[in-house]
């Protein structure tokens, strides 16, 4: 006891049970964790693995139907479960703090930020002014530049990133001995995520607080934490350090998670992702043996029968696997055991342009107020898309990246005709397309399809998968009922789903499966061009990886061209032959993927790139933080639109003159006042090294 570091938190054999209807399920089973003072502990796992449940159990704040049915939770040696209400409140006030997953709903929408902070800080003995002073100090601590303004704001007036900072400030208020962050960045932009991660790291170091950091992204956890626990279906399967994670993870699940994560520069055709097959088991019917066995590429008979124990390795990590020793010894190859039937894209057919936009413009008019109308203030508009010219070659993939609000979705919707463009042209194989859907004939419609972002809304919840596909086939290919039904089966097969799914309703499918069906539906007409708008962003890493692979396969089978939209540069670069980077309605950089990922890049691209969380702690890549939020698209900044946030701002010229297109390499252009060679010199050569290391 004496030689061990002081424990901030001890979780011993924790089991959490949810009542559900008549039955019940154990969402967390026999989990033990120890977090020392000043230690940052990461908790990863797919969606539904029980991360939030564990976090809330530690907080002693489970939903009404939840119950700690076994084990103990001790905070600084004190058992929490037995604490009376008043003392637990004391603990909440002073010792443990939670930063919740969804910042938007975690702040009271009708109280000012300052008041909500004051509440967390005040202990009753202080004057109001004194408390407010400390609140402002707290805001400054989380790098909020203008704390007075923020304190006087209501939550809805702040961006997601700012809200998250406020919540972190709130959590740090009482100098807690334990800080739990539950997916604090999951719904945020990459750039914002990066900033928050930096902040968390910094705070943990300066405060010496014990921290439990929950995420489904291994790269994020690895970047922040000293130690990582991997949770699968409510069980702890591995507990290791980031170094061990990088060098030698021992559990097949951990390895699977790692291999599902695209790294910047990794290319589909060359170095495919290796996603974990299958789905997590339902928690009310956990398999008898190893929980991971059904999905494990190297599972033995034993694994299906006997539940492995959590064993300690010589290196001090913990692992729950029958075969960890063999893995450690390199006796089994986890990767070879998995089929990676990815075919390299066929470069020969490229050349023809499948989809082209010329100077595409979309302005949404802003409603004028009565007073403005009377004063004849000229009508204003949201410059959602400004002069965007893109080309997608036949059988090729163009990736479109940019922060939230940069106009990616609007571009896509203008192309397919869901939104009528304000100006410019769109053509499909030289056929000019009418702005609206009504003006396009069926043949054209069928050649251009789109898959939407939110898998939950992708399918009509009231129709079976079979109905959905059949209807598309009847409609777009003019097939009869029986034939359509057979074809529907084939389509399902194409997206690697069993034919039995024809009778499933969307409610019975996981998010990834829904997205597969949506893709199958889009492929019903064999489209020439398929637009994918953030189609994988909402999915777990492993699911995302398998869909990315599916898309590559389908492209090589069907020969469609893709416009692939994402805010995640890693995912885009994995799939795309060419990349276009959008900022505030404009394309700021465009070119072949390899080129765009190598210096010189547009400063904005550089920032995006540096923000991507990396497992391998980025040898020498310095993070480029963008200051402030995306400016309003109603009155976009004059000159270079990026000048308000640009880390490489030259000066007056950027503010007043629109930058010219600079040619970095053949086919690779960017919009900046800085010439290619100068720009390259400013930028970290580590990028180039880093990228070349992954792409052979």
């Amino acid at each position: 006891m004496s030689d061990e570091p002081h424990r901030a938190l001890e979780v011993e054999g924790l089991t959490v049970t949810y009542r559900r209807g008549q039955g019940s399920l154990d969402a967390v089973r026999n989990v033990s964790l120890r977090i020392a003072e000043g230690q940052a502990y990461g908790l990863v796992g797919e969606s539904g693995s029980g991360k939030s449940t564990l976090a809330l159990a530690i907080m002693q704040y489970l939903p009404e139907n939840g119950l700690i049915s076994g084990g103990a939770i001790r905070l600084a040696g004190q058992e929490l479960a037995t604490l009376p209400g008043e003392q637990m409140r004391q603990v909440w006030r002073e010792q443990i703090k939670l930063v919740p997953q969804d910042p938007g709903s975690s702040l009271n929408p009708s109280l000012r930020i300052g008041d909500q902070l004051d509440e967390a800080l005040s202990d009753g003995g202080e004057t109001r002014g004194g408390v407010r002073e400390r609140s402002l100090e707290q805001l400054r601590q989380v790098h909020i530049a203008d704390p007075e303004r923020v304190a006087a704001s209501y939550p809805h007036q702040l961006s997601g990133g700012m809200q998250q900072r406020v919540l972190i400030a709130m959590a740090l208020a009482g100098q807690p001995s334990l800080l739990i962050l539950d997916e604090p960045t999951t719904n945020l932009d990459v750039t914002t995520e990066a900033a928050i991660l930096d902040l968390v790291c910094e705070l943990v170091q300066s405060h010496q607080t014990a921290m439990l950091y929950v995420s489904h992204n291994l790269a994020v956890v690895a970047a922040v934490c000293d130690r990582i626990a991997v949770l699968y279906a409510g069980e702890l399967v591995e507990d290791l350090t980031p170094e061990q994670l990088r060098s030698q993870p021992l559990h097949p699940y951990t390895v699977g998670l790692l291999d599902s994560l695209p790294r910047v520069g990794q290319r589909a055709g060359v170095d495919p992702l290796l996603p974990i097959a299958g789905n997590m088991p339902r928690l009310d019917e956990v398999p008898a043996g190893c929980v991971f066995a059904p999905r494990c590429p190297i599972a033995l008979q034993l694994c299906h029968e006997l539940r492995p124990d959590l064993e300690a390795t010589q290196q001090g990590s913990l692992v729950r696997c029958h075969r960890w020793r063999e893995i450690q010894a390199g006796a089994v190859d986890l990767r070879a055991a998995r089929p990676a039937n990815v075919t390299a894209p066929d470069e020969s057919l490229s050349g023809k342009i499948a989809l082209e936009t010329k100077d595409l413009v979309k302005h949404f008019p802003v409603r004028r107020s009565l007073r403005e109308a009377l004063r004849r203030t000229p009508p204003r508009s949201v410059h959602a898309v400004d002069d965007v010219s893109l080309q997608v070659g036949q059988r090729r993939t163009l990736g479109l990246v940019g922060e939230s609000g940069s106009g990616k979705t609007t571009t896509a919707r203008c192309i397919v005709g869901l939104v009528e463009r304000t100006g410019g042209e769109v053509s499909l194989f030289d056929i000019a397309l009418a702005p609206g859907l009504d003006g396009r004939d069926a043949a054209v419609l069928h050649r251009l399809q789109m898959v939407f972002q939110n898998p939950e809304e992708a399918l009509n919840p009231h129709r079976t998968v079979g109905d959905v596909l059949q209807r598309s086939l009847e409609r777009m290919r003019g097939l009869g009922k029986t034939e359509a039904r057979q074809q529907a089966g084939r389509l399902l097969e194409a997206v690697r789903l069993p034919p039995s799914y024809l009778d499933h309703t969307p409610g019975q499918l996981s998010g990834g499966e829904k997205q597969r069906v949506a893709i199958a539906r889009a492929f019903a007409s064999n489209p020439d061009v398929l637009i994918l708008d953030e189609s994988v962003s909402a999915l777990d890493v492993s699911v995302q990886a398998s869909i990315l692979n599916l898309l590559t396969d389908l492209q090589s089978e069907q020969g469609s061209a893709y416009l692939f939209i994402s805010h995640d540069l890693a995912a885009v670069s994995y799939l795309a032959d060419d990349i276009a980077v959008m900022y505030l309605g404009q394309v700021v950089e465009i070119g072949p993927t390899e080129q765009v990922l190598q210096p010189p890049f547009h400063p904005y691209t550089e920032a995006l790139l540096s923000a991507v969380p990396r497992i391998d702690a980025a040898a020498g890549i310095e993070r480029i933080l963008l200051s402030g939020d995306l400016p309003s698209a109603v009155d976009p900044p004059g000159g270079c639109r990026f000048h308000t946030r640009c880390p490489r701002l030259l000066g007056e010229i950027c503010r007043t003159q629109a930058p010219p297109w600079q040619q970095a390499a053949p086919g690779h252009r960017y919009r900046c006042h800085i010439a290619p060679n100068e720009l390259a010199a400013m930028q970290s050569p580590a990028f180039r090294d880093h990228i070349t290391t992954v792409s052979p």
């Binding site: 603990v91 909440w92 929408p109 209501y154 809805h156 007036q157």
Partner: protein, 314 residues
Amino acid sequence: MSRYIARRLLFLLLTLLLTSMIIFVVTQWLPGDVARVILGREASEPALAALRAELGLDQPLPLQYVSWLGRFLTGDWGTSYSTGEPVRALVLERAGNSMMLAGLTLLIAVPLSLLLGVVAGLKADKPLDATISIGSLAVVGLPEFVTGLILIEVFAFRLHLFPANSSIRPGTGFFEALPQLVLPALTATFVLLAYVTRLTRAGVVEEMRQGYVRTATLKGLPRRTVVGRHVLRNALLPTITVLAISFGWLIGGLIVIENVFNYPGLGRLMTFAIDRRDLPLMQAITLITVLAFALANLGADLLYAGLNPRIRLE
């Protein structure tokens, strides 16, 4: 916010205009010869024709509407067919009385139902919740005319606490009229109680699930602060709108209640007007009611917007 108000006002005017049209057309469609009603069943045909001409009833409908609206807007609400008195003074006086009754009703009903709703919401799915919701439904399930009857029997005839009858004199002030207002107001309270209680309860339950409640609780705040400072503020917001809607219910309820208690308000005047096919009176009452209802809605919307930063700062 000012933009919001301007837009709401514009919609209000539009709605009122349309409603006035509906009212006018519908009242014109009512069967029954106005002249006959005025002159009685013994009147002769020439006298009837003369009266019709005098009232302008022989003109085309749109013309009648425009001139009616024009006169209405300039404050000339016409002369009651049945009393021969100018409509405006009469309607405004009765509107004042109805306001007193509605006011007292709201004074009783709002705090009571909010209290019940909040308690039920906090104790959701516990026996107390079920008791409140079934109890409040039971009183709303009983029609006003039955509750009125029971209240009169108990409070007037058995306990002699309040008068059985509320025919107050013209010009009676609120406090003077108070004893006579109590029973009708209680009856009207029952009309609103369940509705407001249930919606308040729903608001509280809904808000208790929100993330910010967890945030507040985990700050270590005592429960009463969490509820009082965080939950109610948001939970009661929708109740404001609900109150405006229930104001419409109240108006409907008053038609029956004022008759049962013989209270000289708009509701009783309305039955009088309908019985006697007194179009100017009917039109004026309906329009004034709609205006009150619309203003209540507007007020609620503005209050809602004023209290809800998400709209206020838009």
